[in-house]
Amino acid sequence: MEHIVIIGNGISGVTAARHIRKMSDKKITLVSAETDYFFSRTALMYVYMGHMKFEHTQPYENWFWKKNRIELKKGYVSKVDHQKSQLIFDSGENLKYDKLIIATGSKPNKFGWPGQDLDGVMGMYHKQDLENLEKYAPTNKVCKRAVIVGGGLIGIELAEMLNSRGIPVTFLVREDSFWNGVLPPGESGMINRHIKNHHIDLRLGMNLKEIIADDNGKVKAAVIQETGEVIDCDVVGLTAGVSPNVNFLKDSGIELGRGIKVNRFLETNIPNIYAIGDCAEQHEAIGNRRPIEAVWYTGRMMGETVAQTICGNKLEYKPGHWFNSAKFLDIEYQTYGWVFGKPKEYEAQFHWIHKDDTKCITVSYHKETREFLGINTFGIRMRHETFDKWLTEKKDVDYVMEHLAEANFDPEFFKHFEKDILNAFQKQQTINA
């Protein structure tokens, strides 16, 4: 029986395992150094906030794996020996495979800041990070202030977490507006205000200079580069992005860039070795996407695709229309298609914001052809299927704006804003015309 070994039990690895089991009878082993059982990484924050217990983040009950004959192996892979088709663990153990899927995900970026390895400095990515946070920031008596460095999605989640326990947070964001590399100015500005409304000390355009230790090698303060200000704190969160977790493959003969280089079939340069999820890097970017996409959804899709290939139905990884979502404190965000933070030269954007400052949308369309290119929504839920269809059919922006109500996904009885949005859109069009 063919033995499929998967390194990493995150969403990519587990999705691959589940789909291979659905389609075949192969032997499957899932290797992880982090936890025994699969849990939803995106839900870690809710454990600290007390919304859920850790067990609730596990989508499958513990008997699921045995019943589906997916063997779980806890261990840290230190080397891949592709000549002998085996993995070598740091314990010295070996494991033979016929096909190997690498799904080791990411690790938090560290940019060589002085003091970045002190006690009380952590990312917010692994279960171990959560345990660390619980140790150094259990209450606002133990942790009088926290400093977060880095203005992405994980940063704001960490801010929300600490905020839920009444721990004051200073949030250093390198950019001059939150996540403005991705979000257009109107949206980014609204989120800035929303963060401040939660009494989070948001410092835009600021970088970390160094982290100062106390006598025990624990964090005492953080220093801001621009102002030289010393902020006393007990915890520093480093959330300046992630990079592929591939160090253990350095001398393995597997071709690496920043991540593991794969072709459109998710194959590496070594036969029978595949890479999926955050750690995989496309030779060439697909459409507007980046070569490395550290996004939950794309990880899942790669898992689905590689499972097909491994079970004899060789399939190219062809992600459909881009979509993503997140939540900024109390504001939900969804995106379909492409809306760029800094509009491309062919791109026109229409922005609408509600006067309560918690809802807005941005619609992107082609200046000349008026083809609808994408939408960002904040505080209004939209239907994935509808936008997928409109993008495929290349609807023009006027059609989309007139039919926006069809795409609404808010709960029943919620207020609708499609009329306001359409009016504002038509007004803007006449001004521009």
Partner: protein
Amino acid sequence: MAVERNMALTGQPPKSLNTIQKIGVLIGISGLLVLLLAAFNLNLPNKGLWLTMSLSALITGIIIFSKGSYDKKLEGIKNDGVWFKSMSSRGVLAWIAGVALTGFYIVLYFFAELLGLGQGVDGTNTGLVGLFDPLSRLLSGNPASQWFVYGTLYTVAIVGFGIKFLMKYKHNRYEQLRTMSVMFFQTAFAFVIPELMARLNSDTFSLPYNDLKNMWPLNYYAFEQWRVDQFINAQNIGLFFLILAVLMVFVISPWLTYKYGKRWYCSWVCGCGGLAETAGDSFRQLSDKSVKAWKLERWMINTVLVFSVIMTVATISTFLGYDATKYWFTKNVFLISVGVFLTLLFTGILYFKRDQLNNSAVKGAVGFFILTIAFLVLIAFVDLSQIQIQAKYFSFGLNDKSYAADSALRTFYGFGIGSIFSGVIGTGFYPILGNRVWCRMGCPMAGIMGIQQKLFSKFRITTNGGQCISCGNCSTYCEQGIDVRAYAQKGENIVRSSCVGCGICSAVCPRGVLKLENDSLDGRINSNEILLGNDVDLMDFVNNK
């Protein structure tokens, strides 16, 4: 698991109360204290005044506490620290509350005299029941009973905690409207109107206490002889209520369930649901989501339903049996028509809905059907009221009376299901087992509407394409123990008989993935093996395989 041990030890975070919350607790507890003093027979002089003070203190306390909890926060989901608080995570407070509530139910159902019922001179009330006399006289003109005390406190709980719920979900209009609806139906239909109706009663005219929205089989005594007689004797208005009761079961309820799912009743109207949604809201995360619990649930709820059908048929058949002249059809005609009706219904479902029933559902259904028909035949040939059951065989000799089989059946149902299950366990165990144990495991009405919802309703919870991130908030906060995530992460719509449509899964979802919808029956159950997001070819491949 290091994380959880740490949390149990430190745990202090958002657990401590702020000043406003403390004031709320103080006022609420003082209201409770008055009730307690009355229960211990302290003679309070001006009962009307003390009762007013006590009940207002209860409601005000809850409102002030809620203000302290939610007022200063921005609109949004308020579940911070739920699993750190003793009360909402099966801690010491939860156990104390559970034991106290259960104790209260036991006293209420079986030892009402301890609450002062009929303990005064000439059988007047003293103690706690006596305290409620002024309010009862105001409404119905009669002295209070232990059920009046219960009904009042029940209503106070729904109104008080209903207001708390409204503050907690101020950003969510579905939750707001639904809660106002249960508050209204409890206060008006279940509490005030029946009491006022009792004023119509005289020596020559008498209507049974009637909560119009409480229908069979949840109202398991709806068709007992004394009630039917009372209705018929109350001429037009009684007959109207009787016909309405039948229409509710066979026409109104199925039609509304077809249009909106069983939520129209379970989370918008029903009193049991009303208490669960308001006072029980803090405990919704405690329901068991394991597959094991799901299996148990399916057996329990359907068994109760079958038992309730058999019990009701037996009851009606006995009074048709010895009073054949009074009604236009006889016992055997009745039994045969029930048999024919059930057979047609059963075979119809098995034939037309065969694609939606899995193997175990069919097996279970056939078993229950045979059992029911066997009972109908038994009842046809045997006069249950003639069979005497010796209680001493079941009571270790403590009770040496004998009972007629039909009344024994009724008593057992009323006692076992009506009191113990729906009251003592269903509500008393809120802080331990979650707030919908009864609705999920025992309510025969939920059983019937569940079958209708699963097979014939336009209601479903839609999953938004591929946007689910498997975080598990939806499953955690499902009071009915449905593993919502299991469906959402497959991109599958959720069509489950037990879903009461409370809408909380949709509210707590951080990605806007779930929506309660009423739409056409086609495409209601969609199971894509591959989620939206991948290229269309791949989806075609898998779906056409």
